[in-house]
């Protein structure tokens, strides 16, 4: 008698004849691990790395992680990890009510910069364009939300801080993407 062997995972019955449980339709473990790590990087860096300015204020460097995730791992990573990571930082730092707004602001920033930055074969100018466009999305979202919730005065006051934060974050994020691409061997630059 001929016994036809099919690959073990395709059989619906085990060797004993019991029904094999149906595997779950999840994303791959590599994706889970990568997105978890990118998200926690965004949160940790938003919470710990702040650049104090000569006068009273400070910038946080979290935007660099949004841009890095978008440039190095695509727009999905940028949107999901940048958005959720920054929103989680808001929740843990004490202005949790702002978390949904941050989710939208940084999420669109990651999405737009990832889409634009990945186009034209990862050219550097495409990434700079992505930073500009993503930054405009983020600053606009924050401006509108702050106008609605905090008033026009506060929105205008925060505008230069948010814009500056995007510029610094973009500068750092671009350097990071380049440096890490060299490490991963995906860069065209000679090591």
């Amino acid at each position: 008698m001929l016994v036809v062997m099919s690959s073990a995972s395709m059989e619906s019955r085990t060797a004993d004849g019991e029904a094999r449980p149906r595997p779950a339709k999840f994303v791959s473990p590599k994706t889970v691990a990568l997105y978890a790590v990118l998200t926690v990087l965004a949160t940790a860096i938003t919470m710990t790395l702040v650049i104090p300015l000569p006068n009273r204020g400070y910038f946080n460097v979290g935007d660099s992680m949004v841009f890095f995730a978008a440039f190095a791992f695509g727009w999905r990573a940028g949107m999901i990890c940048g958005g959720i990571g920054s929103a989680a930082a808001d929740l843990l730092l004490g202005y949790g009510f702002f978390a949904p707004i941050t989710l939208v602001a940084k999420g669109t920033e990651g999405f737009v910069s990832g889409v634009l930055g990945g186009a034209w074969k990862n050219a550097t100018w495409a990434k700079v364009l992505g930073i500009w466009a993503g930054g405009i999305c983020m600053v606009t979202t924050y401006f509108v939300a702050e106008w609605i919730f905090f008033g026009l005065g506060y929105a205008l006051f925060e505008l230069p801080w948010n814009a500056g934060q995007v510029l610094i974050g973009g500068l750092i994020g671009l350097s990071l993407a380049q440096a890490v691409a060299v490490y991963r061997g995906t860069s065209s630059r000679a090591v």
Partner: protein, 262 residues
């Protein structure tokens, strides 16, 4: 910067024991309530009630003030800046060129500041009465797919680790001569690249190990997954849910259907 990355303080109060799904839904409804109320008097009543909830939850005053320090700064800025952009109504208190400060303008600023306070306190109550594991469990139970919930709880688990890693890499680079508090803004920003690149590389290595660990623990092997800790709604949780919905629904109906000035 204080060392804690978790606002949660373990305790046995009724707020801590409430089902986290009920807490999340209540926070959404209370936030909506704070948004639809526009009279200062009622906002102050809401703020007092929420402060009472903090008291019931037995949060320490010092930890609460540390958690709310950014919000207090935002409130002060709102109160100062709002009247310059809201010149409606009488009496006019001060006028000079384009600047016109009126009493209703100042009151508008106060209302917005108290609303921001209410919103911040509501979310703070959620964060300090609910552990991070329970929050993720609640989201998964409410429909978030398990692999997303797993990614989220892995992030939360690694947060203290990565925060400490960033700090130690900062110290290591400082020992190699990097000066983080000197130099132009651009130079200071580029200094952070030297801290971030090692952090990211460590993070990517962690991700590789993590994915192996997940695969070795039969990640995704069955669709009908069981859970070690389940969430069950008790009668008091259903009661709390009804109260939260009522607390929003009654004023909302009064304001929008019966035009009660709220």
């Amino acid at each position: 910067m204080s060392g804690f990355v978790d606002l949660y303080t373990a305790s046995g109060t009724i707020l801590h024991r409430m089902d986290p799904r009920v807490k999340i839904v209540s926070v959404v409804f209370l936030s909506l309530l704070a948004i639809i109320i526009t009279e200062l008097v009622y906002l102050l009543i809401l703020a007092a009630a929420l402060a009472g909830l903090i008291f019931i939850g037995r949060a320490s005053l010092s930890k609460t003030l540390i958690a709310l320090r950014y919000v207090l700064r935002v409130m002060v800025l709102i109160i100062i800046l709002w009247p310059f952009f809201d010149p409606h109504g009488t009496p006019v208190l001060f006028e000079f060129g384009l600047i016109k400060i009126t009493l209703p303008g100042i009151l508008g600023g106060l209302e917005t500041a108290v609303r921001v306070f209410c919103l911040a306190v509501v979310w703070y109550i959620l964060m300090f009465t609910t552990s991070q594991g329970d929050l993720v469990r609640a989201l998964v139970k409410m429909g978030l797919r398990f692999d997303f919930g797993l990614s989220l709880s892995i992030s939360l688990r690694f947060l203290p680790t990565f925060t400490a890693t960033v700090e130690s890499i900062k110290d290591a680079q400082r020992a190699r001569g990097m000066e983080l508090d000197k130099g132009s803004l651009k130079k200071r920003a580029m200094n952070y690249v030297s801290v971030l690149v090692p952090t990211i590389i460590m993070a990517l290595k962690t991700a590789d190990t993590l994915s192996l660990a997940l695969q070795s623990r039969a990640y995704g092997a069955r669709a009908d997954r069981t859970y070690l800790r389940e969430l069950w709604m008790r009668p008091v949780d259903y009661l709390a849910l009804c109260i939260s919905i009522a607390i929003f629904a009654i004023p909302a109906t009064a304001k929008y259907i019966f035009s009660v000035p709220l």
